[in-house]
């Protein structure tokens, strides 16, 4: 008996013996081979760093994410501490990273380095999770976290609030640039999870009415240094 794999592949090869025409392209000129070339027809991500930051700020506002821009690391720690105090957070999880340790140290509530001794029930009980990220996509207001650089898979999704601390140099104009950067950085050893986070968790499943915080964080803060 032939196995399913060779059966399916044989069916595919048989089916493809008759060629289908290339799609009828209607836009001006045919797009080039899609390999990290600029795509001047997608939404704009800005052509200078400052332009990208303006687009990013606009996008985040529309997504109902909170954008906090600070001049230096000390100011970042202060901003998160103030946030924590105003929201009355009792327990905050973060992961072992040079950017985050001083931020966690400045908090007056209970803090926990979650990736050192991962425990899902305990993480669920945290008011907030603080992570770094791989990059930030101005074009869409998306923050790329990964299992390698953001404390695993759960830290950025399980706690009720997500705070991202990042450097302004991590902002890239568009999604293509962000994906290219991941390939350059990790090659064929990609982290087991990469996730573009575009605003706080949301649903419109009940009468198409927008509700934030369906299963993931209800609030998303980006603290950008520099």
């Amino acid at each position: 008996m032939s196995d399913a794999r060779s059966d399916i592949l044989a069916r595919i090869r048989e089916a493809l013996k008759v060629k289908a025409p290339k799609p009828h392209l209607k836009g001006e000129g045919a797009p080039g081979k899609t390999s990290t070339v600029a795509k001047p027809w997608l939404p704009d991500g800005g052509d200078t760093a400052e332009h990208s930051l303006i687009i990013l700020a606009e996008q985040l506002a529309k997504l109902k994410a909170v954008f906090i821009r600070v001049p230096d690391h000390a100011a970042a720690a202060k901003a998160v501490a103030e946030l924590s105090a105003s929201k009355n957070w009792k327990k905050v999880a973060y992961h072992g990273h040079d950017l985050l340790r001083p931020v966690a140290a400045a908090l007056s509530c209970e803090t926990w380095e979650a990736d050192a001794s991962f425990e899902k029930q305990r993480l669920e009980g945290c008011d907030a999770g603080i992570t770094t990220c791989e990059s930030i996509v101005a074009q869409l207001g998306a923050i790329l976290v990964s299992s390698a650089s953001s404390g695993g898979r759960a830290l950025s999704i399980l706690p009720h609030v997500h705070v991202v601390v990042a450097e302004a140099s991590q902002v890239v104009p568009d999604l293509g640039a962000s994906l290219a950067l991941m390939k350059a950085r990790h090659g064929d050893q990609m982290p087991s999870m990469l996730s573009f986070i575009t605003g706080p968790s949301r649903t419109g499943d009940i009468e198409r009415i927008l509700v934030l915080g369906a299963h993931g964080p209800k609030e998303l803060y980006l603290v950008l240094i520099g």
Binding site: A4, A15, T34, A142, S147, G152, D205, I206, G213, A214
Partner: protein
Amino acid sequence: MDDSKAIFLKDATVNAADGDQRAFIRKALGGYYTNRDLQKARYRDWERARDAASLAKWSAVNDLANVLEKFVTNFERNGGVVHWARDAAEARAIILKIAEDVKAKAIVKSKCMTSEEIHLNDALEKAGYGVVESDLGEFIQQLRGEAPYHFVFPCMHVKREAISELFTKHLGTAPTDSPEELTMIARRHLRQLYIDADIGITGANFLVAETGQISITENEGNARLTAALPRIHIALSGIEKVVNHLDDLSVLLPMLATAGAGQPMTCYNTLYSGPRKKGECDGPEQFHIVLLDNARTRLLADPEQRDALHCIRCGACLNVCPIFKNIGGLAYGTTYQGPIGSVITPHLRGLKQWNHLSGASSLCGACTDACPVRIDLHHHLLHNRRNAAKESPTLFDRVFHNGFNFVISRPWLFAAGGRVFRATLPLLQKLPLPYMGAWMKTRDLPKAPSQSFRDQWKNKNV
């Protein structure tokens, strides 16, 4: 008449007459139209983007065997396990076997239409596993014991009062008419279930051959949790979901969100490549993918309609379809509703029994215009009608088409027929025409011209 057709006709007639429900659906979609247009306006050239998206899918689908093999090689290199399923029964058996091997008890699922296609929940429940849908809409539909109404918005037809009653009945919560409170009830209920589940089952929106990653698009974060907390992750995907390059996603992910939900990008777009890696603090121990054919290769073998496999399941064609908006999603009786469902279901389940869906269209072409990957949807509905007439013509097809053929190929007979028709038209206006009652109730026949078109053409200098 086949059952599926009889049920369709009955449901469609009832639903189309339900003015309240139709108004409710239109209102629910109102915000979508506004947001979609706002997001589309941010594209510097939406038509070019559609070209690129359709080309990306075309390149993969038309080289499917090689692209799939490349995906599989890279997926396995990342530590994942690949399973192939020729049909629904094989896919169910594979997933049941994994559940048995890992001694699972509780299973949490994120939205996966392919699992609806293979009726996975039934099979798992019969085998004694607790299965919970975690997507809010799917969770509500699971409690209602009803199939999804729309493959992106599963419970868009259910009013909040009904959801409140449902939660009171099943979860014992206090009644509320606030969508926010209802969402929070589901959130609190499901959180512990993710933590307790042994297996998380997800779908996949794209399989990236270049890197061996699968891409999952969602808004709620339930798929993120499903793939993060249980110790086993199983993804179920149709074979047509594969794309060549990681960079293809830089076009497809934003377009999926804009076309499908009027968003710049959905909240979470996540790429998974294998189970927990060395040095990572959490994530599943095993990562399986089930690659399902289930008659997709039959659609692949039709070069005329092969582009229907480009579908990224955004749901845009449903949202703009006048038929969908009037008869609703459940009337279709299919896993995939609306225009795309009407096109592919006859291929997946048999043309003879499902050809009636080819008539569930006004051929207005709104679906084709809305499709981000340029599937020629309304023409494919015509292709299906033609193929069905060829494959198993009805009596009407035979009598009418043969008669028409006989007349049209004899100019003298056609001219004579025209003369008779023009002469009797005033009489016909007074008679009730058989089968035309409903149509004629609000319409009059036109006045007959004094000359045939051919005579007018001949005398055009006059």
